[in-house]
């Protein structure tokens, strides 16, 4: 070595010298040539010289590259290693004395939350039912406002309500079941994971992983020459790749820093990075990272990473609760999560599990008896499509949209935020089921090919506008176009209550006012004529205003709207919460106005809440991944209309159920205390239904994406979906917000004293009756309508008898 270097050094020094002389004295050129002639270099010397130079260059480049790799390894491995998607949760189920709750709902919500029914309740995540009494071992959970430990809750039911509630023998006023996970806000790669520390992983799992994937893990420094040679030998013998020589560290490097590219360059990089990783981090840190990084399957668009999430996904359990069979299966799946997928290939998964159990027994991680016992167990996995692992696309999209007004999308996708929402899983399931079933029925009835019809639905709470359920398509798992939020469809008669509200608010009309349902013709500025017709193509003559509303008469509503003023109706729509531009054309009176189901919900919310205009709300609270509250939301709104006026309008909406287009609801629910309105757009391109009881408001839309007509109206197309949802959730009849004055009215719509020829009893704003009621004597003397004011629409026919017949 030494002798070889000497001539190189000499030549290098002579080169240096000659270069210097070349720089300083150019005229000395002849002496240089003389020198080279006198000291001729052999080809060997030249070769050595170049080798040396290239080696130096190579070392320099390698060194620089290693420094770069080192920086890359450390910067990515220190601190937050993963981009954590935001986790979205439904509302927690609050249990308290007096709560109306069916056993079916409680059972379903527990199952959706991965609780298991057992005979003896001893571990968190289990429950038992003993007649009217239940014991639920609630898991520990970090709620938005506080961390709560696991508790054993006892509750007893009486007449469908919770009668007693206790925790550890002590009476409690309120207990929450942890909320169901309903989806995430993922970055483009859709990686999902739950982080776990090594201490929380069962030692058997770690031991099994090392035994199967890298037995020499604690002996090597990132690379295992023995492992590589062994793999080579096995591969050569088999004539194909049957074994990998990568250590766990290399696997982590490949998954964490590199791609799946199969090239020498990637392999070399992987090897160096593995060495660097081992240089800087302990074996424990590396295995912990591996356990969190490892890919273990796919759930729709979501890729399952890490042992913790995989454990929840495949077995509906925490890692700590896994038994030996499950541990072996998870470890076995590392080799090929898709190939050994226990949902699709249970036999293959079982065989792989047994191989892992054999290795574990061979290395004395488990005893022979434990191996035999574990191998005797069938492959038991939780359903992959179960509620607790399913996503709710339409709702998640709304969550994302509402949050993006306050937060950057990047932060929502990467920082592991926890989002607590208003979704009610029970209502959501009812809504999904109802939409899916009914749309199929409609298609069958119409003889449409499947899928022709689409649907959307929104359900909110009447008092707080919390969105409890939302469906954006008949394909409820579909992450594409969300019709509940984005479909702009003509709302048809759903606009009519705004016309009647404008009339009532003007003080010139009561429900008993007579309106004329006869042909109407309005000339537009361009000379075109707007001539709306009734659905049944008939004129109904003079009718009570309330009947025109209940039966959804187009001509009467158009006439009324023109009288109260289009501008006033537009103003009403805006006050009700419609935020878009509304063109002041006559046709808007009959709903020639495109809105999404969510926008319609916002409008109807004001009727449902007694005049309190609120935006539908989906977020309750937002916390960081370590549970620092970033924002919590409470009810917000403005009193757009007086409760009295809205109560009066609600009478009209109830008449839709009593005698109008929503009549079948009265029969189904055995009550008329439901406020509702049907809507059908021109040529039956859209079928709508909006209605509310004392607790919830539901808005349903059914139509075709190609906007072609269909043989359904709001009553036949959308109402049945609403009906099914409320059947399952339970309907609570409306209670009055305020007391209105009631009076009998005669055929001309005039209030009369009791037993004086009144034909209907109707509400009036309190105080508005004073001095208007006609006495019995006046009524007898009364022979016809008095047109006492142009404003009053109480213009009857020749007599009430004529009016009736």
């Amino acid at each position: 070595m030494t002798t070889a270097k000497k001539p190189t050094r000499a030549s290098k020094s002579s080169t240096k010298k000659s270069a210097t002389s070349k720089k300083t004295v150019t005229k000395k050129k002849p002496s240089i040539s003389a020198s080279s002639k006198s000291n001729p270099r052999t080809w060997k010397q030249r070769c050595w010289s170049w080798c040396w130079r290239l080696s130096i260059l190579f070392i320099l480049v390698l060194g620089t590259w290693l420094v770069y790799l080192d920086a890359q390894v450390r910067s990515q491995f220190d601190g937050n290693k993963w981009t954590l998607p935001a986790k979205v949760y439904a509302r927690p189920l609050s249990l308290y004395p007096g709560l109306l709750l069916s056993a079916e709902q409680l059972k379903s919500e527990l199952l959706w939350n991965d609780y298991k029914a057992v005979s003896h309740v001893v571990t968190p995540g289990t429950y038992g039912r003993y007649g009217q009494d239940w014991i639920i071992y609630r898991r520990a959970f970090s709620f938005a406002d506080r961390n709560e430990a696991a508790v054993k809750v006892r509750l007893s039911f009486s007449a469908g309500r919770i009668a007693e509630l206790s925790v550890a023998g002590k009476t409690e006023g309120l207990v929450r079941i942890e909320p169901q996970y309903i989806g995430g806000i993922f970055p483009a790669h859709h990686e999902d994971r739950e982080l776990i520390t090594l201490q929380d992983v069962p030692p058997a799992l770690v031991a099994a992983l090392i035994a199967v994937e890298d037995r020499a893990y604690f002996e090597h420094y990132g690379l295992s020459i023995r492992g590589i040679l062994r793999a080579m030998k096995a591969n050569v013998a088999a004539g194909r790749t049957v074994q990998g020589g990568s250590t766990l560290t290399q696997q982590l490097v490949k998954n964490f820093f590199l791609t799946n590219e199969r090239s020498l360059r990637r392999k070399v990089k992987e090897a160096f990075m593995a060495l660097l990783l081992e240089l800087h981090y302990s074996k424990e840190e590396i295995i912990q990272a591996y356990l969190n990084e490892v890919y273990l399957g796919q759930a729709g668009r979501r890729s399952i990473h890490g042992i913790a999430l995989a454990s929840r996904f495949y077995f509906a359990k925490n890692v700590q609760q896994l038994d030996l069979s499950e541990i072996a299966l998870l470890v076995g799946m590392v080799k090929g999560p898709s190939y050994y997928n226990p949902f699709r290939k249970p036999d293959r998964a079982r065989a792989r599990r047994d191989v892992v159990l054999n290795v574990m027994a061979e290395l004395n991680i488990i005893s022979a008896a434990e191996r035999i016992n574990a191998q005797g167990q069938p492959i038991q996995v939780a359903k992959s499509g179960r509620a607790g692992q399913r996503e709710y696309p339409a709702f998640i999209q709304l969550v994302k949209r509402q949050l993006q007004t306050d937060y950057r999308l990047q932060d929502l996708q990467n920082t592991g935020l926890r989002i607590f929402t208003t979704l009610d899983p029970w209502l959501q399931h009812a809504t999904e089921k109802s939409v899916q079933q009914h749309v199929e029925n409609l298609e069958k009835r119409a003889g449409f090919a499947k899928p022709t019809l689409e649907a959307a639905a929104v359900v909110t709470s009447v008092d707080g506008a919390e969105v409890r359920a939302i469906v954006g398509s008949r394909r409820v798992r579909y992450f594409g176009f969300n019709r509940a939020l984005d479909a702009q469809r003509s709302i048809g008669s759903l606009a009519k209550p705004a016309v009647y509200l404008t009339a009532l608010a003007s003080g010139r009309y009561d429900w008993s006012s007579i309106v004329d349902d006869k042909a109407v013709s309005v000339a537009g500025q361009d000379g075109s004529l707007w001539q709306p017709k009734n659905y049944d193509k008939k004129d109904h003559g003079k009718v009570f205003m309330v009947d025109a509303m209940a039966k959804s008469y187009n001509q009467a509503t158009a006439r009324l709207g023109m009288k109260v003023g289009i501008g006033q109706v537009v103003e009403t729509l805006e006050r009700l919460g419609v935020e878009k531009f509304i063109p002041p054309y006559p046709s808007i009176l009959l709903g020639s106005l495109s809105m999404s189901p969510l926008e319609v919900t916002q409008m109807f919310q004001t009727y449902a809440s007694g005049g309190f205009a609120m935006k539908p709300r989906v977020i309750q609270a937002l916390t960081t991944h370590d549970n620092q509250v970033l924002t919590s939301y409470a009810v917000e709104g403005r009193q757009a209309y007086s409760p009295e006026l809205i109560e009066n309008l609600r009478y009209g909406l109830q008449q839709v159920v009593v005698q109008g287009t929503g009549k079948r609801l009265a029969k189904t629910f055995n009550t008329t205390k439901i406020a509702a309105k049907t809507g059908t757009s021109d040529e039956q391109r859209d079928a709508w239904f909006a209605g509310f009881d004392d607790r919830h408001l539901g808005v349903i839309w059914v139509g075709r994406d190609d906007n072609k007509p269909m043989p359904f109206t709001g009553a036949s197309g959308a109402l049945p979906i609403w009906q099914n949802i409320f059947k399952q959730s339970g309907l609570e009849p409306l209670t009055p917000l305020v007391d209105l004055d009631w009076a009998w009215v005669n055929a001309y719509g005039q209030p009369v004293e009791e037993d004086c020829g009144g034909i209907r009893k109707m509400p009036f704003n309190s105080g508005s009756l004073s001095g208007r009621e006609i006495s019995c004597d006046q009524q007898k003397a009364f022979s016809g309508p008095q047109i006492d004011s142009i404003e009053k629409e109480k213009q009857g026919g020749s007599s009430w008898f004529d009016w009736l017949f």
Binding site: S94, P97, D145, G173, S461, V462, G464, T631, A634
Partner: protein
């Protein structure tokens, strides 16, 4: 035997004391709250303002949440206190006393417009059948005056 009887009696008395009034427990429309601990003593209560969010006697679940709200308020976490009261509102969506407390807290936070709107809700759901009707009505009026004064009306 006598001891056993005495013990049973004693436990029965304790149980009776600890249970909530049946009117609160099974109030179907969830609207009842007592503004004072003892409903018979409200004639002697002069305060036109609450001092604590958890004052009075409420449905057990609402009581738990109002207590948590008061704790949060005392810890200087008024927004968290508001979220507790909002949870109480979701349990009893038409309880005037809860809306009054939401308005009261909004007033403390300087959210006058919101306080004003919530007071309207409190008034809407205040029923004369409520045992604390008078006192709650007086409190709502007092807070309304304060809100108006601050808003410059």
């Amino acid at each position: 035997m006598v001891r056993l009887v005495v013990l049973v009696l004693f436990i029965s008395i304790l149980t009776a004391c600890s249970s909530v009034p049946s009117g609160l427990k099974h109030d179907p429309k969830n609207q009842q709250s007592y503004e004072v601990q003892n409903k018979d003593s409200h004639k002697f209560i002069q305060q036109d303002d609450i001092l604590r969010l958890d004052e009075g006697k409420h449905h057990p679940a609402v009581q738990v949440l109002l207590t948590q709200a008061e704790d949060a308020r005392q810890q200087g976490l008024p927004l968290q206190a508001l979220s507790y009261i909002d949870r109480a509102r979701q349990i009893q969506p038409r309880n005037s006393a809860i809306f009054y407390r939401q308005a009261w807290l909004n007033y403390q936070l300087g959210e006058l417009q919101q306080a004003q709107q919530l007071l309207q809700r409190a008034r809407l759901f205040l029923r004369s059948s409520n045992d604390s009707y008078e006192i709650l009505q007086r409190r709502i009026k007092t807070l309304q005056k304060k809100v108006d004064a601050k808003r410059g009306y």
